[in-house]
Each structure stands twice: as structure tokens, then as C-alpha cells.
């Protein structure tokens, strides 16, 4: 019996990404995440090839699966046609389906992403919108962004955008009918259900941790997951 493995196998990305690993390490060698985190894509394949549910469950609850940046550099190099990056995507999907993501510091961050990128997709029709990118949340954007953000309409206008306007163009207002369509797409295909699961499991976790996350004004948990860093992600160890 290997329930989790079978669940993973339902994901086409998993079937596409896992052929047979020969442990050569070409993926880990050039993986940006392996350079900065305690992470080896090779180990992911090693574990998955065991089809051992207890090891897979541990993986789904760990920080490990959240280190990858999905740059897919590993895909170019694998001599066996495996795609560790795709496997990570399948693992992350399952981890969210089962609520295991809240068991790790890096996994818990999914709520922060859902409440920004996820929200913006449905609200603006794009993953980002400049008025939402707050300089105090993004100090690395520098003084130039502060200036731009302060003068957003004038700057976007100067650069030829159709800022919040009708018709085509940069940063236009997406027509409501189009936003309705993408909402329905999210509903029909499981996108909304994914969002709800992220909320629901996070709420449980927040309660367990004694933190609030009831609404958008009361966001102790959000702040916590957005900034928490145990500092335990980068050490060199284990094989």
C-alpha cells in the first residue's frame, strides 16, 4: 500500500518528472537552492523512488520541498530525463491538498502568497499590481520604487500605460466580465478550492500556535509566517 505515492502519481507532472534516477548529482550540482539551502534535488528522487509512504509523508511536512525556486535548471541537465522541478510542484500540490504544508516554516508561507498573488490574480487579472507593492514591505525596491509608488499614476502615464483605464494597454482595468471568467475558471478547475484549503489549514495552524488570522486587519499569523526564519535552512549536512 502506497497511498501518498499513488496520489502523487495522479499528477501528470509527477509521471513526466520521475523516470529512473541514477544518482549522478548533475541536478544538485547546479541547483541554486542547493547552493544556499540544506537541499539536494537528487535526494528528492531518491526518496520518491522508494515509494515509501512514511518517508514521503515526512517530505510533504518538511521545509525541504519549499526550497526549490522552480528555475528548472535541473531539467536541462538530467541524463535520464527526470525533472526534479516538476516533482517538487507535484509534492507541493499534494502537501497543500492534505494540509501538511502548515507543518513547516517554509510551507506555512503559502498563506502569504495566496493572500497576495492569489488575491491579485482574481482582483486585477494579473499576478501583480503596482499600487499593491508597498515600499515598506519591499525596501529592496529602493528609493526609485518609493518615488514611483508615490507618483504611480503620473509615472505610469508618462511611460505610456493605460493605468486603470478601459481598452487595451499596460496596467489597464481588466473588464469585469473577464474577471468573472477567470473566477469561474478557478472555481471549475480547483483553484478556488486550493485557496480555501490554504486558508482553512492555515487557520487551524494559527489557532494551534495561539495566533490570530481571522481577517485581514488581524494578521499576527500572516506577519509571523512572512518573516519567520529559524536560520536553520542553510547548514551543510547529511547526505
Amino acid at each position: 500500500m502506497s497511498d501518498l505515492y499513488n496520489k502523487l502519481f495522479e499528477d501528470v507532472r509527477f509521471r513526466e518528472g520521475l523516470k529512473a534516477c541514477l544518482n549522478c548529482g548533475t541536478c544538485t550540482a547546479i541547483c541554486p537552492a542547493a547552493e544556499f539551502y540544506d537541499y539536494q534535488p537528487r535526494r528528492i528522487l531518491d526518496i520518491l523512488q522508494t515509494k515509501d509512504d512514511s518517508q514521503i509523508e515526512e517530505l510533504l511536512k518538511s521545509n525541504t520541498i519549499w526550497y526549490c525556486g522552480e528555475c528548472m535548471s535541473c531539467v536541462t541537465r538530467c541524463p535520464r530525463g527526470n525533472a526534479p522541478g516538476l516533482l517538487i510542484q507535484a509534492l507541493r500540490s499534494l502537501s497543500q491538498e492534505l494540509g501538511y504544508f502548515t507543518e513547516s516554516e517554509k510551507g506555512r508561507q503559502q498563506l502569504a502568497i495566496k493572500r497576495t498573488i492569489g488575491k491579485w490574480i482574481l482582483e486585477y487579472g494579473y499576478c501583480l499590481f503596482p499600487s499593491e507593492i508597498m515600499p515598506d514591505m519591499h525596501p529592496e525596491q529602493g528609493p526609485i520604487w518609493e518615488w514611483e509608488h508615490k507618483n504611480i499614476e503620473a509615472v505610469m502615464n508618462r511611460l505610456g500605460a493605460n493605468y486603470k483605464g478601459t481598452g487595451p494597454g499596460i496596467l489597464r482595468k481588466i473588464p469585469d466580465e473577464a474577471l468573472d471568467e477567470i473566477y469561474r475558471i478557478f472555481e471549475v478547475t480547483g483553484g478556488i478550492s486550493r485557496f480555501e484549503k490554504i486558508e482553512e489549514f492555515s487557520r487551524k495552524k494559527a489557532m494551534e500556535m495561539g495566533m490570530s488570522m481571522e481577517d485581514e486587519t488581524n494578521q499576527d499569523y500572516m506577519k509571523f509566517i512572512y518573516t519567520a526564519d529559524s536560520g536553520d535552512h542553510t547548514r551543510k549536512h547529511e547526505n
Binding site: 542547493a34 547552493e35 544556499f36 529592496e140 518573516t227 542553510t234 551543510k236 549536512h237 547529511e238 547526505n239
Partner: protein
């Protein structure tokens, strides 16, 4: 310097050219048998310390050869010098002397 709430980290890669391999050179000279390791892992499989800690003597050997000296200090304290590793090594590597030589080398270089 400004704080942004996160740090720029050094990468975890073994940077072979940046590593100081003086200790490596010393140990290879005093215990030439360590060159013969073929990475089979028999030593680690039988290791008494490895059963109770995350000590991995095969990896200690590899770290030593790569000049990853800072990895060694904490690790070698876990070895109990029981010598079982040496009994099973198919290449006759003197692993006890590897550990002892690392001790000596680290002391010598003041690490």
C-alpha cells in the same frame, strides 16, 4: 549598513580552490592508506557511533579529502575509536589513524 530583514548568505558549495588543504596534505602523508577509500560505506554501516548519532565516518573521510576542515572538528569527537570500521574495510584503510591524525592536524593548525 541598512537592514532589510534578511541576510546575504555564503553558498554551501564545496569551493575546492578556496579550501585550505594543508590538513589534507598532512593526513595523506602520515596515513597513506586513506587514499584507498572507494566510498563503499562499509565503515559507516558498521560504525558504533553512527548507530546513535549522525556521525558518518565515510563522509568525514571525504570532507577531509576536500579540505572541508570546519566540518571535521565537531564530527570527530563523536568517534569512539572502537575500530570496527577498520575490520570491515575492504581496502584496509586505517580509519582509527584517520581520526587520530585529524585530531593531531587540527591541534597543530590551531583549529
Amino acid at each position: 549598513m541598512k537592514s532589510f530583514g534578511y541576510k546575504i548568505s555564503e553558498d554551501r558549495q564545496i569551493d575546492f580552490d578556496a579550501n585550505d588543504r594543508e590538513v589534507t596534505g598532512f593526513i595523506n602523508a602520515v596515513e597513506p592508506s586513506i587514499r584507498l577509500c572507494m566510498g563503499c560505506g562499509s565503515c559507516t554501516a558498521t560504525c558504533s557511533a553512527g548507530h546513535f548519532t549522525d556521525f558518518n565516518i565515510r563522509r568525514v573521510h571525504t570532507f577531509m579529502q576536500r579540505g572541508e576542515i570546519h566540518q571535521l572538528k565537531k564530527e570527530i569527537m563523536k568517534c569512539m575509536l572502537c575500530g570496527k570500521c577498520q575490520l570491515v574495510c575492504p581496502r584496509g584503510v586505517n580509519l582509527r589513524n584517520l581520526i587520530l591524525s585529524i585530531h593531531t592536524a587540527l591541534e597543530k593548525s590551531g583549529i
